[in-house]
């Protein structure tokens, strides 16, 4: 399968808008950090070490295609243009760190893009599983299977006291980072996020907005994840995240009901204005687009807006980013050109997402 497949505008499986609580939890991600014995960590290794690690990890995983019932493609980061790297970053398939690394590194991607294994990022191996909706256990099971497979063939750096040895001491132990991406517009509108961020941080979890500041997140999307990796077994880390996520979902639903009860006219006006902006605006910044997409998503969730497909909104959050816009436009765009192109793309996508069911016509 060619690399183009991963760069075009086809949606990744996590954007499908399925899975439990998918109206609030957009996606679940599991990341395992692993390193090999006998090679220094990427911060200190030589190009020769990088090359050898890359070869053995890639070969092991590509050989295991059948055992995993998944087909992987290996992509050398150095072979990619700068724009292609940016697109993979925007699609959450590689990290900016890997994209900008001067050393040999690669990413192994499953065809449905639910699994990406980064080689020579901050650690030798980073296994990532990205699932739609709230599927913490499912995503972990997948990551664990890949981990087991690599472990059989490759000598992992492990210590009886410290566990899996990682480049950064914040990952030492399980090397596990479990996170959920949540859309929390009502908690944001009712100014409850700061309080929630504070409470959660006391529970060994962390909440981040899009710029990591915590309070005002782009598009009201927040990432909740475990902060500690030492002293708690994997099952407990996952169970704690599950329980905290469920409680936040509950709070968000309560806040939505309260908004509907006490200010339904204001809310309805705001959500429809955003739909109008997305449908007709000619210039759109990332910020405005994210806000409008968040409003329309909320409108769909509370049953106000009925004729837009929610998967289109998931895709738009990704495809409206600068790299994708330029990939789609097939040319370099400056900032103001991007804003215009973004508005155009959103108009087109939104029309595609409108199902003409509202007119009462039967669709076959």
């Amino acid at each position: 399968m060619s690399i183009e497949r991963f760069l075009d505008n086809s949606p990744s499986s996590w954007m499908a808008g399925i899975g439990e609580h998918s109206d609030i939890v957009m996606s679940t991600r599991i990341r395992l950090a692993r390193n090999l014995n006998g090679y220094r960590f990427p911060l200190a290794f030589t190009e020769d070490e990088a090359h050898k690690i890359d070869q053995s990890v890639s070969a092991t995983l590509l050989d295991a295609n059948e055992d995993l019932h998944k087909h992987f493609s290996s992509i050398q980061i150095k072979d990619l243009s700068e724009l292609s790297r940016q697109v993979l970053v925007e699609k959450h398939l590689i990290s900016p760190k890997l994209a900008n690394s001067p050393m040999t590194g690669s990413v192994l991607l499953s065809d449905d893009e639910s699994v990406s294994v980064m080689v020579n990022e901050e650690d030798h191996i980073r296994i990532q599983c990205l699932f739609p909706g709230l599927q913490i256990q499912e995503a972990y099971t997948q990551a664990d299977a890949i981990d087991g497979l690599l472990e059989k063939e490759l000598p992992y750096a492990f210590d009886e006291q410290f566990g899996y040895l990682t480049s950064c001491p914040t990952n030492t132990g399980t090397g596990l980072r479990a996170s959920v991406m949540m859309h929390l517009p009502a908690l944001t509108m009712t100014k409850q996020m700061n309080r929630i961020v504070t409470i959660i941080s006391r529970l060994g979890m962390v909440v981040r907005g899009i710029y990591g500041e915590g309070s005002e997140a782009l598009g009201n999307v927040y990432q909740v994840s475990n902060q500690t990796t030492l002293g708690k077994p994997e099952e407990d880390i996952l169970a704690d995240l599950q329980s905290i996520t469920e409680q936040i979902i509950q709070k968000e639903r309560e806040a939505r009901n309260a908004l509907l009860k006490h200010s339904s006219n204001t809310l309805e006006d705001r959500l429809y204005r955003s739909l109008g902006t997305l449908s007709y605006a000619r210039i759109m910044t990332t910020d405005e687009a994210a806000t409008c997409l968040s409003d329309v998503r909320l409108g769909i969730d509370i049953g106000l807006i009925k004729d837009v497909d929610v998967t289109i909104l998931n895709e738009c959050m990704v495809f409206m980013q600068p790299g994708f816009l330029q990939q789609y436009a097939g040319t370099t765009l400056n900032a103001s050109e991007r804003d215009m192109f973004r508005a155009k793309l959103l108009r087109e996508r939104l029309q595609m997402g409108v199902t003409p069911k509202t007119k009462g016509e039967e669709l076959t």
Binding site: L43, P96, F162, G231, K232
Partner: protein, 180 residues
Amino acid sequence: MICENCKQRPAKVTVTQVHNGEHFERHYCEVCANSLHPFYVEYKHDPLSLHQLLSNWFNHADQPVHQKQNRPQLVCDECGWSIQRFLDEGKFGCASCYTSFRKQLPNVLKRLHNGNTSHVGKAPGAFGEKLKLKKQIEAVRLQLKEAIEVERFEEAAKLRDEARELESKLAAGGDETHVD
């Protein structure tokens, strides 16, 4: 203020970077901030906070440079990184650093992991087998004690043999047991 990257839109986002121990502030518009530091970047603030945390913990932050250099330093044989470099970067150079700095690490890890300094949880094959064997032996010994207490000697003899077999497996490195 105007965005440092595109020099077109107003700067709204401040990104703090640490490079060679120096802090730089970058001011971007939201479009550029999003492209240069997308949502996906996880824990991008960690290197800074971790660095501060480690420095404060070891009280190195305010010491003049020459003083630092005069102090005898722990160095990792494998990668050549000193413990000071680990503290400055907030990262290890290699897996052997964990062994080289083993004594100092609990103090660092404690701060990062809610007071925890030891791993519990999954372990790769050989290690996992060993741990499993140790737990099995413990369980069999407990059963053996119970059997002796209620004078079921036939069962006790069987359990004793079982415990011995497990112990010899453990002594052999725990590699013989198949992974299930």
